[in-house]
């Protein structure tokens, strides 16, 4: 009983390892053409700075613009 279960389990492990080895081989091949971390980091930084002005949580919004901030008392015209 336990013998056949071991064989089945081992086959599953073999299959999993094959898949992992396949993924790792692809990654190894792609490291040759990878951009440096400094370039990737610079791109991330540039995206941040470009969009910083449009980020309300970052720049803060005045009470009149932000729909969630408590409004001043409304007066009837």
């Amino acid at each position: 009983m336990s013998g056949s279960a071991n064989v089945v389990a081992m086959k599953k492990v073999v299959q999993q390892l094959r898949l992992e080895a396949g993924i790792n081989r692809v990654k190894l091949a792609s490291t040759i053409s990878q951009p440096q971390v400094s370039q990737a980091a610079a791109d991330l930084q540039q995206f941040c700075l470009q969009n910083a002005q449009q980020d309300p949580l970052l720049t803060g919004m005045s009470s009149s613009n932000n729909p969630f901030r408590p409004q001043k008392v409304c007066s009837f015209l």
Partner: protein, 395 residues
Amino acid sequence: MCDQTFMAATFGPCDSCSKPSPLMNIYIKNEATNYCSLCVEMMACQGLQKGETLESLKRESETLKKKLEEERNKLNDVELHQVAEKVEVLSALSIKTRRVLKGHGNKVLCMDWCKDKRRMVSSSQDGKVIVWDAFTLNKEHGVPLPCTWVLACAYAPSGCAIACGGLDNKCSVIPLSLDKNENLAAKKKSVAMHTNYVSGCSFTNSDMQLLTSSGDGTCALWDVESGQLLQSFHGHTADVLSLDLAPSETGNTFVSGGCDMKANVWDMRSGQNIQSFESHESDINCVKYYPSGDAFASASDDATCRFYDLRADREVAVYQKDSIIFGASTCDFSLSGRLLFAGYNDYTINVWDVLKGTRATILFGHENRVSRVRVSPDGTALGSASWDSTLRVWA
């Protein structure tokens, strides 16, 4: 432990023996092939007989992993916070609680914003899903579900439906109607069927497709109308706790994170695992894409949040402090990606400066674990859900 019996995705003629049977989608030498389970077993057996033992395969796997690390380290010339040294330090943030939404009877487990920037949907341990208007604190819809622990909920892009799922192993879609008297629970439609709990769900760019992640170790893409399984994603070796779709309109990838400490990036059309990141030291509770789509962050039980760049294929930042010892259960970026909001099990939300790697501020207010944080679609507010049975809107 997770149940991985959820395997057969298609039925048809096997690529090797041509007999029609349930097919397993596997990759041989990086090519997708469909073999019936008998052929898979025979192939795995044959591999062993040709002199390859389990140990030799394990050794091959280990040497490949080591070579990969060495190659990566050669490219790792500088860290993100070093590149960002010249960036201005953030000015003081004035984010405070602006709304407290009370109404759930028990822990709030998940929440999501509607694209109209004012409605939110939240789900709770008491089995209820509530749709709120965050401006007025009005409860627009309340749907009681037969199961407790509704772990995941999501708003459809059109705003006309919501999806929710949890311990019932299903993810259901409920169309929302303007008629207050209509019984929404009756119109609930089961779309996704997993063999274990549903931990996360998300609509793709349209109302027609739903992506789910489950405790059975798989993610799956479903057609909402027919309930048909369009694609399944296998590769995690433990429960998958979270998923997030890439932000681009044409994007066809998503990232998932789970209890196996791995974050995997998948191609939605082929079902293939494109990239995998393993640097966390405990379960990954939440993954979220950076707004540009080139990177993603993850929050984990090891009390850190980490930032991974997809093109550099490695971790580029770790957000941690010695004083933070409780796990992070959720994270989300602000609109520009400069801020990372992370909710922790010590009842706080830490706001990290993504570029510099420092903590900008802490948001206090919840009286129990923060289970979910989400920035509103236009970036004006942060919504948070907590085990103290309330939701808060911060702005």
